[in-house]
């Protein structure tokens, strides 16, 4: 063992004390409300353990309420808060006519619709995380929408996610984007065999 190594425990301890002292200060600041390192860490969202996703732990209709959910109050259409609470996405110069209401159960409706089209299988998990409520304007028609992050985990643990605007009244998905991109391609409908027909179905004749 050389000299350097002989000294290393002491050096390490000194460093450790210094580092831990910093921690004390950091935590002290935290208690007093100053933004600290620990506050910079992501919120401890209830991530699924990687092994756990294999187990059918939740029903398809299970709904994850996250800390980021913005409470939605029931708003009268005449209530000017609609405009105040929700910002128009895109250009602020857009003029629009608001054509839908806000349903406090939009998330339940959206989950139900997703569950319907995705199919009911034990172990499938649907999570809808609110990003922000907004007003989406297209051709002068304004819609109250919920900008959300949708995460789907199938019964084998495979994940798919995307962002979406959900109609705040009906729970229907208006548009999706930012979809998961897998590296090694696994086709969705591999080996699906369609049957062909010739001409109009009125004179139906099947081909291979």
């Amino acid at each position: 063992m050389d000299n350097k190594n002989n000294k290393s425990p002491i050096i390490i301890s000194v460093f450790a004390i210094a580092i831990l002292s910093v921690f004390i200060l950091v935590d002290y600041k935290s208690e007093t409300g100053t933004l600290t390192k620990s506050n910079l860490k992501p919120k401890s969202n209830s991530h699924l353990k990687s092994k756990e996703v294999k187990r059918p732990s939740r029903s398809i209709a299970s709904l994850k309420e996250t800390k980021r959910d913005i409470p939605l109050k029931k708003i009268n259409k005449n209530d000017s808060n609609i405009i105040i609470d929700r910002k128009v996405v895109g250009s602020s110069s857009k003029k629009y006519t608001l054509v839908n209401k806000i349903n406090k159960d939009w998330k339940k409706l959206a989950t139900k619709k997703l569950a319907f089209t995705w199919g009911h299988k034990i172990g499938r998990i649907i999570e809808i995380d609110s990003i922000k409520p907004a007003i989406y304007v297209k051709h002068g028609i304004g819609k109250n929408v919920e900008h959300v992050r949708i995460s789907l985990t199938d019964e084998n643990g495979k994940h798919s996610g995307y962002e979406a605007y959900i109609d705040s009244e009906s729970g229907s998905i208006i548009q999706t984007w930012n979809r998961t991109r897998y590296e090694i391609n696994k086709r969705v409908s591999t080996n699906a065999k369609g049957k062909g027909f010739v001409g109009n179905t009125l004179n139906y004749k099947e081909t291979k």
Partner: protein
Amino acid sequence: MSLVDLTKNIHNHHKALLISAIMVFVSSCEDITQAKSNKLGARSVTTYGDGNGLVYMSNPAVLNNNLNITSAVWNGVLTPADITDNFYLEEKCQYTDPILDLSVISQKNCLQVKNDKTQETLIQKVNNSWAFTEDSDEFYQVNTFYHVNKIQKRFLSSLSNAQNLIHSPFLFNTLPPAIPSNIGATGVFWWDDISSDSTFLTVYSKCYLEDMNAFFDPSTQSVCLGWNEDYDGFRMAQDPSVIYHEMGHTFVKVMMNLRNKYVDPSNPFETKETDFKSELGGTGYDEAGSLNEGIADFFSYYITNRKHIGEWAMAKFGADRPMVETNPLHAGRIPAKLSYPEYLHYNSVSPQDGAEDIHNAGQIISHYLVSLTQNFKDSCFTNLNYDTDMIHEKSTDLTVMLLSETLAEIGDMSAKGSDFFNTFALSDLFFTNLNADESYLWAHQVTPPNFRRFFRIFGKNINQYISDNSAGFCPAFSQDNSETLLDDYGLLLFKSYKDAGQGISLSGTATTKNYIDYNGVFLANSGKSLFPKNSNTEVNETNRKNTVLVSKDYISLPSDERATAFVFDGQAFMKEYIASLTFEGKSINLSQGLADPEYNNGNVKISPGEVVGISLNLVNNANSTMAGVQILANDWDHMKMNDTAKPYINTTGNLVAQSANIAHWEPCQIDGWPLETEGGVFEDRPLGLPVPVDGDCDYISRSNKPIIYPNYLANPFVPEYNPVYDNDSPQPICMVQYSDENESKWVSQDFFRSQALDLSDNDCLNNSPTGSGVGIDYNPNECLIRMLPGANQAILGKIDPQKTWSETLAASTTGGEVRFSSSTIVVMEVNKWIQPGTTFNCRFRTRFTNCQDCYNNNNSGDDFNDYEYAGHEPFKVINFSFTVID
């Protein structure tokens, strides 16, 4: 916090400090003399300097010079390297804005590495060292971080360089730049908001995936590098080229969205975002997705300077890919270049299993980009006193500049195309992706970045920023050189470059605009004037030796005994198919109670109440291959309102308030069909006189505006808000045959449901999602047959000469099996109230990438304006007729 609490807290901290100090002391002794405990991990006995750790610079196959290696061997191949001076495995992003002369550091960390999603806190360095035991989780996190951070820094440097080159005050610009001049101010160099938690890109180095893979998830801003217990000792993270590839996808996202955040003109201290973020590629197969994969492969070469990706991690699954024709994986099968469209299905590892796959097709792109970069190396830097690494860096920087400028224009959701127009000062002026309301639809479905669109813009940027004699950075690589290289790869798919611009001003009378209309206007922020060209630079036709363009006249449905279409009406299959679309992120909203896969009977006919998948079996009647065939089933401008003074939509509410003003739509005659005697509208107008006006069959909607609610403000409590159609409202594609005592004609679905079936609004498809009245997107012209949004487009990779698509695909594989993916099938709902025997005709629009006359109508090379893609001129209209049979 009270004083008592505070004291107690500090006291507890002191206690913890003492205990911790002892533990650290003990553990530091253990480091020297004993085996490491599990809890303190996997810390290595040796340190390599402050903030350093041991790193594998490449994958095990390369480091051990053995492509057949079966397990990750790190012995003797690891290198000490600087990881980070930070205490945790995270990093802030730093971007130098050369125009604003600003160095921007993200307020919070912009990337971090974790083991997996269960890990709540980041690992931290110990003894100021990142050295951990080989093969430990911490070791792989550190290594993943090293490579992620390395490419992140390099990319931001390249982007800064691109911004500087393109906005150079010494550059005489003739093209309005797409890259914004104020990247530092908007923070678009990274994720959505560099001042918030959403800034984080999280990379998971041991991401459990039952089906081994790796993925980039832009919605959660994460990269997952796969692992599972079935592959003993193997992890995706062991291969840096895979890490660079996945990071390449993140950079594509950044580049596609460079223009989608901007300074609010009404408040210069605020930034605003466009409605959506752009993505390059949808789900399943398409050329945009292939571009994304090819570019991501290039980003591996960008760092490694190796023309092969995934020699270790992807090779395990037969998915490693070469990026040069001389690579041994090709085994000499490529005599010239990996050209389009010949090698679209080609898989170098198993060439007998050709398939429509974005990774296969993306190889054409990666080979081209690597070859282009090699040209830059050979033409632009060899005379300078640079070493090999510097030449590689300089050359790849030029390629990234071209990619950034191209993708910024393609992905522009503001539809402006450039800050040239003082950003949003001219609110109704648009130069790309139609307009701000329809830009997502145009950029992702109607005029998506196929290989033609991408390389027409990419080629334009080569001409301007590389080859131009007065302003280019490497005139030695000339326009002819560029066109020759593009042609070698079959990518010289256009006749001119979009230099003059083709925009539209929606203010007042919609008029088309060229850049020259704004000659001398100052570019916002950078303060330089631009002097645009007044015409498009034409391609030198003598350079087109390999690229073959084919007329759209040669594509059709088969007229012989070959299948016209494939029908999918099995109950289980369609349920699974809709489920897969939902899983992939298509916005599928089925009508309620009128059509459901439950009604499907699997008899290969189209029956009432079914939800049916259709795959048109198009035939190529030409003697050359057609590729990138796109079949559109979305609404378009192909019908005419018989009286524009009566525009009210046929709804219950309007029948009460506007019964005399209900709209009535008739099909325009297209390609001579339907005849006037069959209900078609023929505009008998001598060429140019009088000028077509809004609402005419030969006038195409400038805005693609569907429905207006003019009376809402006057009477906001009427449920239907008295909606009216726009004069050129895009209409659903299917019409129906109607017969009365005297004649048989083609009519709108709305007409038929009223006259023949007497159906109410609620009995129409796309009825109210809330169950009462009609929805705000309701259109009775899709009352009976509705092409499902989210599944109203199909892409066919290629069709060989004189073959159908299915014959082409069958010939690509040994077993001759035709496999349908989610991108090859469109889905239609069939209203359960349709009487069997009712005949429909649906006007699909189709075009393909190497089409001679799908992008201009006079062979001039001047492409159609964006708005014209709402009509039929850029397409071959495919009339698909079927009779509903029970």
